[in-house]
Symmetry: D2
């Protein structure tokens, strides 16, 4: 079995590695044990957000030096998920996940387990379509095996980092006579996030193969996953998947749980999920949530203006709201809230995963 450890590290900017370096130099984090890094960086979280790429570059160069690997090799070994946008009170940070072989435990509740996998590189015209859905589903099942989780019920959070279309990528496809799903760069992030989430739902049995088609992406909203969290990035052309759940024999000193916010102000569901933890709320290490502006144009029956604001993207509005609501419940603004929840939870809502420390071994 594997023991998973989780470290949350604040950043003073997208290039700041001081916190990580301190933990590595202190021996608290062993570079060779790192399997994933999830960051909230302070860009706009949209197409021209280079803070995700910047943080990924400095992390892979720093760790490459320690691991005697090229930056590219580091990106293949560690799943970097950099989500842009720290609107409102959200605080830039990185969550580092490490994994090391350890003896399985005989008793006590199930505890945190994690596995990772990657899809092949996609062609621009495959984004937002069945090709992306199916490749993602396969990778999710690989990641479950990697984590030692057999039952989909024990999966509480599946993080996917997926590509987006740029003017250059659209031209490249057009040059081959291929039609991409949209010519709007920003919109392409939604298609890619949506198809990736449907891939997770398919892998976990939340939707059936027969319900899926190119046409249902960003269209048939009843198809969605309660544990998928997908975010787009300009820096990759494949999907990177991390599956988190609880496993019986896991020796990890953490547990995870999840809930689904029905809308952006559903603090109640988050309070209930925390109340359901086998440990006190003070043990919470981090919360991972998805946010989006309700596509109906209203929240609790009241019109919102997020979809018609041409100055601020709707994902920026949504992150600010959901970040504030969850921070007000857990009392900590250093949480992971990612924009764009297409096919992730119900329209206007989204999945929320919680990881907490536990003393019981």
């Amino acid at each position: 079995m594997y023991r998973i450890d989780v470290h949350k590290i604040g950043q003073s900017g997208p290039g700041d590695l001081s916190g990580l370096k301190a933990l590595i130099e202190a021996g608290t984090i062993k570079p060779e044990q790192i399997i994933a890094m999830m960051g909230k960086t302070e860009g706009n979280g949209c197409v021209n957000d280079f803070t995700r790429e910047y943080t990924t570059v400095v992390l892979s160069q720093y760790l490459g030096g320690l691991l005697q690997l090229t930056p590219k090799a580091v990106e293949k070994r560690i799943a970097f998920v950099m989500s842009g946008g720290t609107e409102g009170v959200l605080s830039p940070h990185i969550t580092v996940f490490t994994r090391v072989t350890a003896d399985p435990v005989r008793m006590g509740p199930k505890r945190l387990a994690a596995g990772i996998a990657f899809t092949r590189e996609f062609l621009p015209e495959e984004l937002g379509r069945m090709a992306q859905i199916e490749a993602t589903a396969q990778a999710v099942m690989e990641a479950m095996r990697d984590a030692g989780i057999a039952d989909p019920e024990d999966v509480h959070f599946v993080q996917v980092k997926c590509p987006l279309l740029t003017a250059e990528r659209i031209r490249e496809a057009a040059g081959r006579g291929a039609q991409v799903v949209t010519h709007d760069n920003y919109e392409s992030m939604g298609y890619s996030r949506g198809a990736s989430a449907l891939g997770v739902a398919y892998a976990l049995g939340e939707v059936q193969r027969s319900q899926l088609s190119d046409a249902c992406v960003l269209n048939d909203w009843k198809l969605n996953s309660g544990v998928a969290s997908t975010s787009g990035g300009i820096e990759l052309m494949y999907n990177a998947i991390i599956v988190f759940g609880n496993a019986a024999a896991s020796p990890s000193p953490y547990v995870c749980a999840h809930t689904v916010m029905r809308d952006a102000i559903d603090a109640r569901s988050v309070m209930d999920a925390i109340a359901g933890l086998p440990v006190p709320a003070a043990n919470i290490v981090n919360v991972f949530a998805k946010a989006e502006a309700d596509p109906s144009g209203s929240t609790r029956g009241r019109r919102h203006t997020m979809l018609e604001d041409s100055d601020i993207n709707q994902t920026r509005h949504a992150r600010a709201v959901v970040g504030g609501v969850i921070a007000s419940v857990v009392g900590d603004p250093m949480i992971y809230v990612s924009g764009g929840a297409e096919h992730q939870g119900p329209p206007g809502g989204g999945p929320v995963a919680i990881i907490a420390r536990t003393e019981t071994f």
Copy 2:
């Protein structure tokens, strides 16, 4: 005594009067009884937000027609407070306050009372300085008398609408050899809101005259008011003040209360204030709050990026967060959250007023 009534009306846009017209045509609202209208309009809430002015224009023209008054005369008779910015889930609306003479009541708890007053027109160079502070304090005391409230303890909310500096106003002052407090239009809104809030604090004994000077504005943050709510607008050059509180003999079927959020995610204070109401939470008509990015650069010890975001003004971030947090507590996104809480509550926090319906007459 006066009976105060409160009506909250949603808008489909800054020019939408359909909801108001329906209530007036149904006889529910009598134009001649309107003393104040507080609106949340969907602009950026900053210097070039013309939605405040637009709504004020259509309201004053419509009501002028009914009252046989010029729009200017309507603006002198009714206090229009249009606060721009409906970031996140905040829903554009107008709250209409009416007042009519009625027999005082003999028993039961104190109930809602309201009074209004205006300062003289200011010169550009008076904004953000003692001249604005003192004129505001005098107007607050006038408004208390108008409301029939004698004890400052019974004042729960003082709304002030104040001017800002434009390039044109700065030139006009410079032409007279006068120095304005700042040449930055946006910054001028902060100075004007701050001086107005100190005027409220001075009138209510929250600060002493000896503590006040030009220098303390936007500088000595320990000086602030727990009930002031000030917002800037390009459309006026004087301060418009509305005082809300409870009065023993008031025949109004409403009560009001207030609290102070210590920071942007202080949901607890709002929950406590609601729990302290003599009526159920379901009776809440509207909540009036102020929001600002914590000037320290962090919230609960976690760095935020609102003050260094050159794409989105910090007031827009703050309204999105506080609007989401309060909406998650009251279950209604159609609330009044105004940006810029200089000298209104502690740094990073702000006053919150609640008006609720009561059955007991």
Copy 3:
């Protein structure tokens, strides 16, 4: 025949009518002779730009009072074309076109003539499709007859104001089971502008009926018009058309001409068009141009970042550039540059019309 007069009036804000009032009170402009008003207002020019609507409201109410008409009736009588966005040096203003019957002239060059027409109201699902193209083409031919222009060669500028899709309009259509061309509000402005421009091209023989279909809108860029200028607005659901050209017998003391900028920095074409005027450059009253970010992602072979900027809409970038370039040629920043040139001139470029005063009667 008709005599056309043209007046350019600066504004201190979207609600400022002082310049217009002065000219009307001086008798220079006779309200009953006004046929069209083209304004540049200082909003973002995108979906939530309410400055267009605000200016239209104050103009129609003011003129309604003078003409004893309701605001709605004024909007049917006068073509209001309010284009949002005064990025860079562009200066907010209104151009007023008046028309009065006058004796035809026997000699001299052709001079300014203008005609207007309106389409029926569209259903949301008709926007961006053949229904909008054909209705526009019919209205353009009506407007030519109204102007007394028989030869399409004499048409130099066709201004169209067209609707856009809002969340509400999309819901309304969906309620009837109708599919709109896009669910993205902002994108809908492009479809509506594009279909309207193709309607102009069809009416003037720049494209043939057989080349047109729903599919060619925002797709087949070789189909475009060298004189169309279309801009979207949230305030109407029909197309308003104004045709400008030169007519032999016209007694108007103005001439017009046009050129097509091949890209955003094509100052040369504008210089040539001015050199070709039968009057000195100093006689130029106003310039009417369309601007767009080159959809290829580059200008003169150099990559631009306008299409991938999620903080500023590409139309805002394009107006700033083209406004600056034309202003540098004519020496006046108070010109009309409108964003979004879909099917208006070549990709990345756009039509430019010039109206100049002439002494020769």
Copy 4:
């Protein structure tokens, strides 16, 4: 004497070094000869623009590997000037300046010479004040000596990269009881750019020591430099200076010249400067210009809205306009236009430097 060479390299993003690598691998650029790199990166050019820092990091790491130096040592050896903001048609690129010892030439016109120098690190409270002015002036004189330019008349361009205040730096100073010039991060960039420009003007005799004081910064606009170009960056706390001019004995195959744009649409001055070059316009390698919104609120007597736009910073508007105007003259959008021209040329205008290739040796 030194021979200076100039290479302009386009970028597909702030992390793209492919163009530079190709020239270095081809031997066209020798890393050890690089003295300066001036880049236009595609961020917002304001406080939270991390593209400047990102490009600097990848450049210093790549060159450090080639030069066997730490990134910090590279930054001390090479002057990195990364200016954010490629609004409108401006195209992201880097200009690389190399310098190598070569025999002086005996005849022909003066040719390009360049020298660099750095100030000490500043304390936050020194920014925007005399301490920064005087340290900058000393460094400019050092850089002239380094370039072999004795006569200030032969200086055509002085590029300064200067620091800005962040919330953290302001707190650090406050912790020592020191007062910074402003608490507004964005405003601090203007103070730092202004003081740096006055330092250049002082060094070149454009202003006298007796005219200078803390109070004149961003206040006495008649004090300015016709050759200074200063831009702020979050990544350094000292000023980096590069002086460009022509020297008699220079063996460089380039010449430089400069002009001053009187306002943002002054294409004429640029045309005249190009006409004055001893070589054809086609030989122009790059243009280096400063841009700002006219602080008077109008251009050529027409009101602009740049100073009152709370959605887009005025420097972004100004770069889009000046970039478009100069690109329309030279026919190339890949030019260097930097925002914020405080004390650089007249209010609303700015210095423009041109570097062109010459065949005559």
